[in-house]
Amino acid sequence: MSAGSGLQQFRLRENQLFLVLSIVIGILAGLLAVLFTLGIERASRVMFGVTPSALRLFFVPSLVSVVTGILLVKVFHDARGSGVPQTVAAFRLNGGVISPRVPIGKFITGILCIGSGHSLGREGPSLQLGAGLASVVGQWLRLSPARVKELVPVGAAGALSAAFNTPVAAVIFALEEVIGDMNATLLGSTVVASVAAVVVERSILGNEPLFRVPAYQLVHPAELAGYALLGLVGGVISVVFCRLLLRLRTYFMSLPPRTRIWQPAMGGVAIGAILLLVPEVRGVGYPLVDQALNGGLVLRTMLLLGSVKLVATVVSYASGNAGGIFAPSLFIGAMTGGAIGLLVQSVAPFPTGAPGAYALVGMGALFAGIIRAPMTSVFMIFEITQDYQILVPLMVANLLSFAISRHYQPQPVYHALLQQDGVHLPFADPTGSGGGWTARDVMLAEPRFVGPNQTVEEAWRALQDDAAGGWLVGDREYLVGVISREQLEGAMDGGRALEAVSTLAVESPEHVHSDHPIEVVLERLASGEGVLPVVRRHDGRRVEGAITLADVTRFVGKGRRRPVAGD
């Protein structure tokens, strides 16, 4: 046997083993998602009883959030929020390595938060549970780093498939959102895991559909105008939701660090107050979505529930509780769609479909606008309805909602949430060309730092011999900011020579990551402070290097050959 054929056989065996492992991971992720769902149901029942009293409605989220606040801040730091952005970051920036603490923490805090009435969904946390489980298993089996990374979307797809009972949409979501590449070679493994998970889920929970959906029918071609209106409104609501969420989160993050432990409880008190007024927005809220789909809600109720759910979700999420925005976006979409369906029905001069059909399309439109996963949205609704006829109105509404949301909120919400946490995802390279110079090629790996406590005068003297236009303030582990030559000169001339440099430093400077292309480096350098820090993607304060205009000029002057594929 030649060495070549031996290697080929080894690879074949490894691929087969990986396929088996994908099935096992899919089953385990599905089981974990089912356990998570069951845990939420049980917790909710235990905490609220069959018919919750006003006291319970107020105190359960308030008091439980005190406990989850302690857990989330002291023990399980990475279990806050949805889990989707954290999974994406782990896959794209950390080689798919996820600590066992993450799924354990998400399981416990997710059950407590959602079970105690926070207006959050279980799909995002389930996805993180599945991804975390897959990563932990991969590490435990001592697979190669590449294989560990590949297991993350496999576990994510399996868990999502079981949590939402839509195996195809789960695969698409894993490709679209986690991997960020619809042409990924991992398609086979994710499909296998997704199918295995949904089979296991149905064998345990039965074939009962998540929603009872109305038979869809486009009654009149002009009805597409109604769906277009739904797409427009859905887009606007998506933007409002994302902006409110990000702003309130920014506010909570701006509070003193000592308050972080109490922030989930602040959200809990607010949710308790909301539940006293509108108890229907408690938890995931799928029974009400089902009612909207079946024409069981009047216009006023849908408008009220949609608005309150939006506010409640923003509060629950921004205050740092554990839970996702997947289900709330569907809830708000169903209410929006149902309300628009009723309006169209009452004013349209042509026959229209039932409002339930609009509610269904509204779910997709809001999902496309908020989550920014339009393909997942289409497949998800299609899987729920199993009706081809809904595709055209769904795509019309989705497209408009997605376009409006992208125009007014250019950064997808998951990416924006990560950025708030100081994690910067790499640019997607849709052309796949790559291969050009990057910041890593240009940067000075050992940049000069100015101590934040140095006075302006001390810094000025120390930097007399340095021709750079600006310097980094802080050290390699923690970047305080940057300061430009003009700022130092101005401070010396202005009689502020004895002030600390940190008081002058720009705290949120323009920066790049080491994989940014040279074009981005030049663009940011032009609008920066004379120096561009190169920071790590999953920690925006850790410095990898720095770039000044002189570094770029020197680099180009050396006549470097542009790297080509294979270099």
């Binding site: 096992v24 356990l35 069951l38 435990w140 345990i204 109305p214 024409g295 069981g296 339930g356």
Partner: protein, 386 residues
């Protein structure tokens, strides 16, 4: 090795999840009982919206429970939420295709929507479903409901065929026999209806509904003596039965061609009949403010026709004039001449029938009991309307 451990672990987790799911199902079932009771209580208090909300929660908690779903569907249907009710039932039907109650509720929804074909299909499905032997009465009531629906839809032929299917099943059940008889009457089969009522009357001579039904059936079959016998036993007749009884009585006691009558009695009866026919025609054709008696109105026919309001004179003038003249002559003849030959009596009866016919054609309605009796008497003696 590690993979084997992982697979073993998966099996263990599967078992644990199954146990947890089973425990949750028990919890939900217990909750469903409470919520269903809350729904029933709300329904009892007339709060249909709350009842529906509770029933929905009960169904969500225990989706496999047939009773909860049926109750929810019924409540939804009561609240005009037919679409959702239909979906609830269709889901149940997928699981229990042979459940007659599901098909029956679906049929009722379709019937409310005036979807005749759909309703018929679901009713037939309900009838063809699996019924236990103890549910015989319910099954028969479903057929009765279907027959009523078909009659309401004007589908008499289909209703009759269902009635024929029902007939063998009614023996021994007096109420159902009476019900079937009434439906047969509605469907237009008086003979079968009488066959249904007669045994009941024989067994229970005071059965009011059966007596009324039998009387009506006999009347329609022109078996007036029997009709009179049955109807005379009805203590509290409805308006219809009272009318039929009055007409029957007149048929039996105003027929100038009845056997074993003296000539004077025949003339008296004929005179009464012709006078009534003239009276009805005068009421029909005279201006409302000047209703006149026949003897006054006979000659001035032309005056009426030439009067100011020609619109009240729409009929065939010459035919009516000749009928009036003939009637006048007949009445004056009856007043002066002694016994009429039988042919003369028949001609007089035919004259009265024709007058009634013209009036019915022009003014509509059936007239007074005697007018109806004239038509029936004429028909009884082969003088059918054209």
């Amino acid at each position: 090795m590690l993979l084997s451990v992982l697979i073993a672990l998966t099996v263990v987790v599967y078992g644990l999840t199954q146990a947890a799911a089973s425990s949750n199902r028990d919890m939900h079932r217990a909750d469903a009982v409470v919520r269903f009771q809350q729904g029933e209580e709300a329904q009892r208090l007339g709060d249909l919206d709350s009842a529906i909300a509770w029933f929905r929660e009960a169904v969500a908690d225990s989706p496999d429970d047939r009773g909860y779903r049926l109750t929810l569907a019924a409540a939804l249907a009561s609240g005009q939420l037919d679409d959702e009710a239909e979906r609830v039932l269709l889901e149940l039907r997928e699981r229990l295709p042979e459940d007659p109650e599901v098909s029956l509720q679906l049929a009722r929804i379709e019937a409310r929507r005036f979807e005749g074909a759909g309703a018929r299909r679901y009713y037939q499905n309900a009838l063809a479903s699996l019924w236990t032997s103890a549910q015989g009465d319910e099954r028969r009531q479903v057929r009765v409901e279907l027959i009523r629906f078909l009659l309401d839809q004007g589908e008499r032929t289909r209703a009759l065929s269902e009635l024929l299917a029902l007939t063998p099943e009614v023996a021994g059940d007096v109420d159902l026999q009476v019900q079937a008889g009434q439906l047969l009457l509605e469907a237009g089969d008086a003979r079968l209806a009488l066959d249904m009522f007669a045994p009941v009357v024989n067994d229970r001579p005071d059965a009011q509904e059966a007596l009324a039904g039998a009387g009506e059936a006999a009347y329609r079959l022109r078996e007036y003596a029997d009709a009179d016998r049955y109807l005379s036993g009805v203590s509290f007749p409805t308006e219809l039965i009272a009318d039929i009884r009055a007409v029957t009585d007149l048929i039996l006691h105003a027929d100038p061609l009845a056997p074993r009558l003296g000539a004077a009695e025949r003339r008296r009866r004929l005179s009464m009949i012709v006078t009534q026919a003239l009276h009805r025609s005068d009421e029909c054709f005279a201006p409302p403010e000047a209703i006149r008696l026949p003897e006054v109105s006979l000659s001035p026919v032309v005056n009426v026709s030439a009067g100011a309001d020609s619109e009240v004179w729409p009929g065939p003038e010459s035919e009516l004039a000749s009928l009036w003249n003939a009637s006048e002559q007949l009445l004056s003849g009856l007043a002066t001449r002694s016994p009429q030959p039988r042919d003369g009596i028949e001609d007089g009866l035919e004259l009265a029938r024709k007058l009634e016919q013209v009036v019915t054609d022009v003014c509509g309605g059936a007239g007074e009991p005697l007018d109806q009796a004239i038509v029936q008497i004429a028909a009884r003696h082969g003088l059918e309307s054209e």
